[in-house]
């Protein structure tokens, strides 16, 4: 034990990474390897009427072109949720390799394998696509409106227009509890979409052997899930597919908690078509427009407190913009709602939320997985409450934070918490007592001090946390 515990250990992959010797997907080559490029939709919402590859096929160096019609059309979900959901939760399968409709600017329409990336790119430009452009919607409320365009088959959105997942923690006691409140703060927050910008873009190298076995080297952060998803997409046994990191992955932050957007699928489909290794590396632009984002959200928060600062009720409605495809739509909703009631001891808490399709880039997992959106909104309201009550923002938090042994909305006890100590030390280290006295009247640059607390589920793979909360119609499995 003492050999390692309490010691600063050198990173095992340190030498590989500081010498440039470590390989990432975009460094991988295979004998006879071809280069894949993807033709993407310029429209946010359109029917794909016809894909004409005639001219592109004639270009010297083009080896294969795939489009809807010459590849499988099994439906799937690009994230681990597809293969790791608890048995009674039905994963949302709303993607195909190429769909009849494109649903965001950047949606895949066709792909080319050629002897160079340049030729593959030139061939993509020669593919003629007939689109029937459809009305598009980008904001959450607009997408739920009665006159909004249907982005997916209404069978996928039984709850309401473009609503693909609902998560609720009903609590009838909340309305009554607000009657005991001396002060109520009610605010709505519009939270923007955020992108991971992990340094290595989505990439995959697929090698299809003559015996049908497939090896995929990719940027996935979940090789086992990726393998299971690919087996479903191509309808071949998972035992025939091997997914591996090469071995390093240039960051992820959630964006590839399953597949690396469509990199693995495109490389594999092209490789199967041409019977040669194919490598697909997204450009930064492709990565930005066509891989998961953090969910934009509209959060409605209502917090009630008594004059002494004690919180009595919290009511939150959360709407997340999941973009064109589900990815981790329902799961992010679950964490968003599930985490917000776990910081403070509040007698009555209620959550109601929807994940909503729009014609934006699909949203999914990103650092915090719904918790940052919820924490931001609730913490802003706590600050507003402090101001209204005339109580110091730190004191108000200390008065209300959850302590070990107290009840909270999660289905297991809060067995320990050092949140109070955290707040105390953080306040000391930033000199909280200076708050409000940092600026002289004459200074043009104004400085301020603030604090916020947050909470998040913690776990380790492959599946370490299963939360089953049938009373709230809520199940969550975190890969």
């Amino acid at each position: 034990m003492t050999k390692f515990v309490g010691k600063s250990m050198k990173k095992l992959d340190g030498v590989d990474k500081v010498t440039g010797a470590g390989t990432f997907t975009s460094d991988m080559v295979a004998p006879g390897m071809l280069f894949g490029k993807i033709l993407r939709s310029p429209h946010p919402h359109a029917k794909v009427l016809k894909v004409d590859t005639h001219e592109a096929e004639k270009l010297l160096g083009v080896k294969a072109i795939i489009y809807r019609g010459n590849v499988p059309s099994n439906t799937y979900n690009s994230m681990a949720a597809m293969v790791m959901a608890v048995p009674f939760v039905k994963p949302i399968l709303d993607q195909q390799i190429f769909s009849e409709k494109v649903r965001f600017v950047g949606d895949e329409v066709a792909a080319v394998a050629a002897i160079s990336e340049k030729i593959a790119e030139a061939a993509c430009k020669l593919i003629k696509v007939d689109y029937e452009v459809l009305p598009a919607v980008f904001d959450i409320k607009g997408a739920m409106a009665p006159d909004a365009p249907e982005i997916h088959d209404p069978e996928l959105t039984p709850v309401g227009k473009n609503i693909l997942a609902e998560f609720s923690m009903p609590n009838d006691a909340v309305d009554k509890a607000f009657e005991d409140a001396d002060v109520i703060i009610e605010e709505e927050f519009n939270i923007n979409i955020v992108k991971h910008f992990q340094l290595e873009t989505q990439a995959a190298l697929a090698v299809v052997a003559p015996n049908g076995k497939v090896t995929v080297h990719s940027t996935t952060q979940s090789p086992h899930s990726a393998k299971a998803i690919l087996a479903k997409v191509f309808h071949i046994p998972a035992s025939k597919i091997r997914v591996a990191n090469p071995p390093y992955v240039g960051g992820a932050f959630g964006v590839r908690a399953g597949l690396s957007a469509k990199a693995e699928i495109m490389a594999m489909a092209l490789s199967m078509a041409v019977k040669k290794p194919v490598r697909v590396v997204y450009s930064r632009e492709e990565d930005t427009i066509a891989s998961d984002t953090r969910h934009g959200a509209v959060l409605h928060v209502k917090l009630g407190a008594r004059m002494d600062g004690k919180f009595v009720a919290l009511d939150l409605k959360g709407y997340t913009n999941t973009g064109a495809y589900a990815s981790y739509a329902a799961e992010v909703q679950g964490v968003l709602g599930g985490m917000m009631g776990t910081e403070y001891k509040i007698p009555a808490v209620r959550y109601y939320g929807h994940a909503v399709y729009t014609n934006c880039t699909h949203a999914g997992a990103m650092r915090g997985f719904g918790a940052p959106q919820a924490n931001f909104a609730t913490e802003r309201v706590v600050d507003m409450m402090a101001e209204k009550l005339g109580i110091d923002a730190k004191e108000l938090r200390e008065k209300n934070i959850i302590k070990a042994g107290e009840s909270w909305p999660l289905p297991y006890p809060c067995s320990s918490s050092e949140l109070g100590e955290c707040i105390k030390r953080a306040a000391e280290s930033i000199g909280w007592e200076r708050r409000g006295n940092l600026n002289s009247d004459s200074s043009h640059i104004k400085r301020g001090l603030g604090m916020a607390i947050g909470t998040y589920v913690s776990n380790a793979g492959p599946t370490s946390l299963t939360m089953t909360m049938p009373m709230w119609r809520y199940n969550l499995m975190v890969p």
Partner: protein
């Protein structure tokens, strides 16, 4: 049409025939098969492709090959001295400045271009030198710590191949 480009790479003379619109990063990665230099954006924003050209840190994705003619280029592969890591490389491991590692070759090249010229940079000079390198994992604090450690080591010892050998 191809052109022939002659330059020195990591201390050795090289001659490469390639198309004239090729960028240095592709020449290094594809023609010369040195994949330590990474591509993160291809537009000079992220710094993952940073190499040292005649003593200056440059984004190799923005350098057309014709501009490399007769130049002295150093990539991450040329930083290690046989089996011995450079003090900057040692410091990055010691200080835990490496996480996913994709930006690291570029950051090390920017740091090396700085320390080769100025072994005791102040905080502003250090930050200026790595301002063109985006790292999404570390938050830069440990990268700064590592460069400061390397600065201390290098200002006390003469490093072979480390530029200034006075």
């Amino acid at each position: 049409m191809t052109i022939t480009v002659n330059f020195r790479l990591n201390g050795e003379a090289v001659e490469v025939s390639c198309v004239p619109d090729k960028m240095l990063v592709d020449l290094i990665r594809d023609n010369l098969e040195l994949t330590g230099t990474k591509i993160g954006c291809r537009e000079g924003e992220c710094g993952a492709c940073t190499v040292i050209m005649n003593g200056e840190a440059v984004n190799s994705c923005l350098i057309p090959v014709a501009k490399v003619m007769g130049k002295e280029i150093q990539t991450i592969e040329g930083v290690v001295d046989k089996d011995k890591l450079h003090p900057i490389q040692e410091a990055f491991i010691d200080k835990g400045a490496v996480q996913c590692g994709f930006c690291i070759p570029g950051v090390i090249m920017s740091a090396k271009a700085l320390l080769d010229k100025n072994k005791t940079p102040d905080k502003d000079e250090l930050r200026e030198a790595i301002s063109g390198n985006i790292c999404r994992c570390t938050g830069y604090v440990k990268i700064e710590d590592a460069i400061n450690q390397a600065s201390s080591v290098m200002s006390e010892t003469i490093v072979k191949g480390g530029g200034d050998e006075r």
